[in-house]
């Protein structure tokens, strides 16, 4: 019970510090909104073209926004000694990592989902597809943040680690982008949840939730010793 209490405290603290502590959670949201809002200007105003590539474009913006926020996941905590204290708190480091990633997603990932309906309308995605699209972006974003925690942990403590983390994350991001964009396109044209690609996206996110925290925790231990 006190373990759950402690984990919840970590989730909420990281979500809060993302906005007030110079955590920079606004940057991914601004990036996502900016890229999606500029897309109609870059691609031309043809509604049919936008409907066709809009969902894929949203996924591209989602993946890059997630990439932008990777560097902040562990770097600050490593530099100011917070990670030492968390590692010594008696909470397994794997659970600490999971709580931190969830907090980061609440700060930097959930806002993307909240503003996505407006961007979907700009990209000529039919309104009836928006609930499915939001679910798609929420689950996909969660998967991207969790799988991204592995490169973030490896690159924390390295100077300009953000670039290294981004390079390491790119190949890990390919599968969810394929599944997620396909599901979003299917949702936009057919109006359901996106069928098989959506199920594959769910499977990817579940696998990331299960495997990323222990791997990232192992990476962090290297930097603590």
């Amino acid at each position: 019970m006190s373990l759950l209490h402690a984990l919840l405290a970590i989730v909420l603290r990281d979500a809060k510090l993302g906005w007030v502590g110079g955590g920079g959670a606004a940057l991914p949201a601004a990036f996502f909104a900016g890229a999606s809002a500029l897309a109609p200007f870059a691609l031309g105003p043809d509604p049919q073209l936008l409907t066709k590539i809009g969902p894929g474009f949203l996924w591209l913006a989602l993946a890059l926004s997630a990439l932008v926020s990777l560097e902040r996941l562990f770097q600050g905590d490593l530099e100011d000694g917070t990670l030492d204290q968390l590692a010594l708190s008696g909470i397994p480091l794997t659970l600490v990592v999971a709580a931190k990633v969830l907090g980061q997603w609440l700060a930097a990932g959930a806002p993307l989902v909240i503003i996505s309906p407006i961007l979907a309308l700009l990209l000529q995605i039919p309104p009836h597809a928006i609930p499915a699209l939001m679910l798609n972006l929420a689950l996909g974003g969660l998967g991207l943040f969790f799988i991204g925690s592995i490169p973030a942990a490896l690159a924390a403590g390295v100077r300009r680690g953000g670039l290294l983390a981004a390079l390491l994350a790119l190949p890990l991001y390919a599968p969810p982008v394929i599944f997620g964009a396909a599901a979003a396109s299917a949702a936009a044209s057919l109006g359901d949840f996106g069928g098989q690609p959506f199920l594959l996206l769910c499977a990817f996110t579940l696998a990331a939730l299960a495997t990323a925290p222990p791997a990232a925790a192992a990476g962090l231990r290297l930097h603590l010793s």
């Binding site: 402690a6 970590i10 510090l17 100011d80 030492d84 204290q85 968390l86 010594l88 008696g90």
Partner: protein, 202 residues
């Protein structure tokens, strides 16, 4: 079970460089150990090794009391980093560490008062000076009590009053049967029961 720390023939290595070898000492309840040594002699590394963040090259470190079903060591570690976040108020910060350490009901206001920063409870941590941040870090020792304290240069940013406060904390911790191991250049505020000089080792 009473608190004790026992090091036997401990050697520490960083990369290919041997920091020291053959370090042995025992500390029983109520004792305070000063770790001395030149810069780079391995004082900070030894503290990190005792709490398990750093592997030792050889030897044995035994800490007690230790419950079998629990991964938690009976230690509280205060490194040279204060782990203070700028975006939070002083009291929210301390409450967070109390909750994470499994003592969410700890008396936050009393701990801040004892460190002389009770009046800063509602200030954002970004307004604190280096000494005040260290006091906040020391307050963690009170809200998440552990029998063995490992302190890395605890007095460095503190003023004269801060050193008195630190001496008081250490004295009451020792009276309660606790152990303090501190890496420090100046004499430990309040005095130590033994001094270990790492520079004297091979």
């Amino acid at each position: 079970m009473t608190a004790s720390v026992s090091l036997k023939d401990v050697s520490l290595q960083r990369g290919n460089r041997l920091l020291f070898e053959g370090l042995s000492f025992d500390a029983k309840e109520g004792e305070a150990v000063e770790l001395r040594g030149a810069n780079g002699s391995g004082k900070s590394s030894l503290l990190r090794a005792i709490v398990g963040l750093l592997p030792i090259a050889s030897g044995a470190i035994t800490l007690s009391p230790r419950s079998v079903d629990d991964d938690r060591l009976p230690t509280a570690y205060l490194g040279h980093l204060d782990a203070v976040k700028n975006g939070e108020t002083v009291s929210a910060q301390l409450q967070f560490w109390a909750t994470v350490s499994g003592t969410p009901g700890a008396n936050i206001a009393e701990a801040l008062d004892r460190l002389g920063i009770g009046g800063l409870a509602n200030l954002p941590s970004s307004m604190l000076s280096a000494g005040q941040k260290r006091r906040l870090a020391l307050a963690r020792l009170l809200v998440a009590p552990q029998p063995i304290w490992l302190l890395d240069e605890p007095a460095a940013p503190l003023d004269a009053n801060g050193r008195d406060v630190l001496a008081g904390l250490i004295a009451s911790h020792r009276r309660a049967g606790g152990i303090v191991i501190a890496a420090i250049h100046d004499p430990l505020p309040g005095g130590a029961s033994q001094t270990v000089d790492l520079s004297a080792l091979p």
